[in-house]
Symmetry: C2
Subunit: 407 residues, 2 copies
């Protein structure tokens, strides 16, 4: 017997047949004597429909009303799954954010969880009743419905698992776990039985879309064992997120991530003097742009130099506007930009113990004739910016070089 939180995303509850399938998966846990809470997303497509309605009525809609509209999606799934469970003899009830209550900040549309009162859930779970919880939603300090932002159901599930002191949080999805890299690019990619929280955090924020970054942060902070597994493949054991110490064999590199959502901006001939970085990145921050990689060339004459940084593609034009407006304060000669770039990253907690890991990356890319435009590193990852057309080649070459290929 264990206490388990199961989470099912939109594709897993896309229609009534899939909801019945999910009910059968939940029933297995109940029959095993597990205390089981289930967190559900809206049926696939439902959230997009509701969001588009709100946007069409008013692009600048009140976020509180947006929350009222979109939270209905998860409410519907929660009620339907509770009905499907009762139909196969499982005692179940649905829980909405305000009923738990799951309290959030007042930032409607992208609220943060501030506290979960687990008393009522706890009471029902210990009586053997399955709790079916509407994900993605909570109640704000103004007693109105709040939502956690896109992908928020993962965050709901992990936070609820923490509040319930669950033995595990199982995130059911349409892939069967975390792979060494994207199997669509590298057919020999391998399923990882275990991944450290920190690695997952780097992978999530580097473009692997399996888990929402915030849910991984919460799992790491509150030490929630999270398992990622497939709704549709009952045989797969999936991937367990765990502490670094719980991973026995540490290869230097665990996985390879990539992101095409990159754009590069270079400011030519800026003054090589204190304060210039602030003059550039201050206006960008004010414009709400997230700057990722930054590299500044060594000045040749000690007076003028070039500076390159990356932003996401959707923020490129906004970034260029902000730079142009600050032209006088920065004092550059001219600006160039490119959107045909991509970021490739190697990630692994083993890096800490293995020197020379980055060197293998640089050599491998050089052998394939791939030019590195920008480099950024952290303790457990190395990212490089390369021309987008080389992404597949680079990922495959690195996957082999770090001995990640399946036999």
């Amino acid at each position: 017997m264990a206490r388990i939180v199961m989470k099912f995303g939109g594709t897993s509850v896309a229609d009534l047949d899939r909801i019945r399938h999910v009910a059968a998966l939940v029933k297995r846990h109940i029959e095993r004597g597990d205390e089981t809470a289930v967190v559900v997303s809206a049926m696939a497509g439902e959230t997009n429909k509701l969001v588009s309605w709100a946007r069409e009525l008013s692009p600048l809609h009140d976020a509180r009303e947006y929350d009222v509209v979109v939270a209905a999606g998860e409410q519907i799934t929660a009620g339907l799954l509770a009905i499907a469970l009762s139909a196969i003899g499982v005692d179940a009830r649905s829980w909405l954010g305000w009923q738990i209550p799951l309290r959030t900040s007042g930032m409607h549309g992208s609220a943060r969880i501030v506290g979960i009162d687990a008393t009522l859930l706890d009471e029902r779970l210990s009586k053997g009743q399955a709790a079916v919880i509407a994900g993605f939603q909570g109640v704000a300090p103004d007693d109105r419905i709040s939502t956690l932002g896109r992908g928020g159901s993962d965050t709901s599930a992990v936070a609820i698992a923490s509040a319930l002191r669950a033995d595990r949080c199982d995130i059911y999805t349409d892939v069967d776990g975390i792979y060494t890299t994207d199997p669509r690019i590298v057919p020999r990619a391998r399923l990882l039985p275990r991944v450290a929280y920190e690695e997952m955090l780097e992978m999530a924020s580097l473009g692997a879309k399996v888990l929402q970054t915030r849910s991984v942060e919460i799992a790491m902070l509150y030490q929630v064992p999270v398992r990622v597994l497939s709704t549709f493949d009952a045989e797969s054991e999936g991937t367990l997120l765990c502490d670094e110490e719980d991973i026995m064999e540490k290869k230097p590199v665990t996985g390879i991530a990539y992101s095409r959502d990159e754009a590069k901006i270079t400011l030519h001939r800026i003054p090589d003097q204190p304060g210039v970085a602030a003059a550039i990145f201050g206006p960008l921050a004010d414009a709400g742009v997230n700057v990722d990689m930054i590299v500044q060339n060594v000045s040749e004459d000690g007076r003028r130099t070039d500076l390159t940084f990356t932003v996401s593609r959707s923020e490129l034009s906004r970034s260029l506007d902000a730079i142009e407006k600050a032209a006088a304060a920065i004092g550059y000669r001219d600006v160039t930009s490119a959107a045909d770039v991509a970021k490739v990253s190697i990630i692994g907690i083993g890096m800490r113990a293995h020197p020379g890991v980055a060197q293998t990356m640089f050599l491998t890319l050089a052998e394939k004739g791939i030019n590195i435009q920008v480099i950024s590193t952290s303790e457990i990852k190395v990212s490089v910016l390369i021309p987008e057309e080389y992404v597949e080649l680079a990922v495959r070459a690195l996957h082999s070089a770090y001995e990640l290929d399946a036999e």
Copy 2:
């Protein structure tokens, strides 16, 4: 300046364009300085979709979960209308049943309103903010979402108007008011500027589908002036429901209603003795059948007689089953039934003051060769059961006979 509750049904909010149209109607009241609350139904089709999902998963679903699922429909409309109002500069916020709170009984799926705390609504209305209220829903004693049963948004609107001490409750619908009879059958039917609550109650329960019966009961009980008018015809003044005293000219008959949802059952040669009615109608009540008209012939020999009663068509086979099971206790010779019958009723508070009103009905029908099978009367109505094929003819003839035709 007045305090107004406006109610819009599913066809009035069927898509984003209609929601924008409703927002414009609300804005007119706000600009006039009216304190305005708006009660909305789910977008047309939405409730049916949600109900069919719940039924498909389990015909015998938990009514509490059914409520969670279907209440989402009104929630979505309320949020969208609040957004549409803000978009045209009207300060508005949505209210869900549990937020008001509108408290109901614990009969999930067909709950009754037990109390409305108008404090919060009152505060916002007096500040000039439009309140957009999700109709059809409330919160049950178990702090879970409850719904009032089909058509419950009318009831929500009238009850909220009463709690807010509103000057009027305007029910917007796809017809432009209450007519002397169905204009599809009688093209010369006239719009009634005023109808007494009691008359409307008879009309509503006799098959005129404009307003839900319970909403009229509440309006009568709490003296809420209700106006029925068209969402799509801005010129129409609609029909005002009011007290009998507020109607100056009282014709003997105000309107003619009909219902095709009728079936007739006759028990032949039942014992003419005390207790036989109980032996018949007890088992029917136990089977949940609503018996409407009842007529018992005078016994010829003082020992055996025939008894005829009507039920709705959908309950005919259930009724026959119940009668058959109770055959021994009743002691009839045989049973006959017919579903090709219809009920036609004349309604009018003026009947009280005008003798001979029923006689005109009987003569009119006789002149057209229409045989009356069963008669039932109350203080302000006379209903007759006739062969269904004569419905249109009967309604038209009566409409002329009582001088209801438009010039």
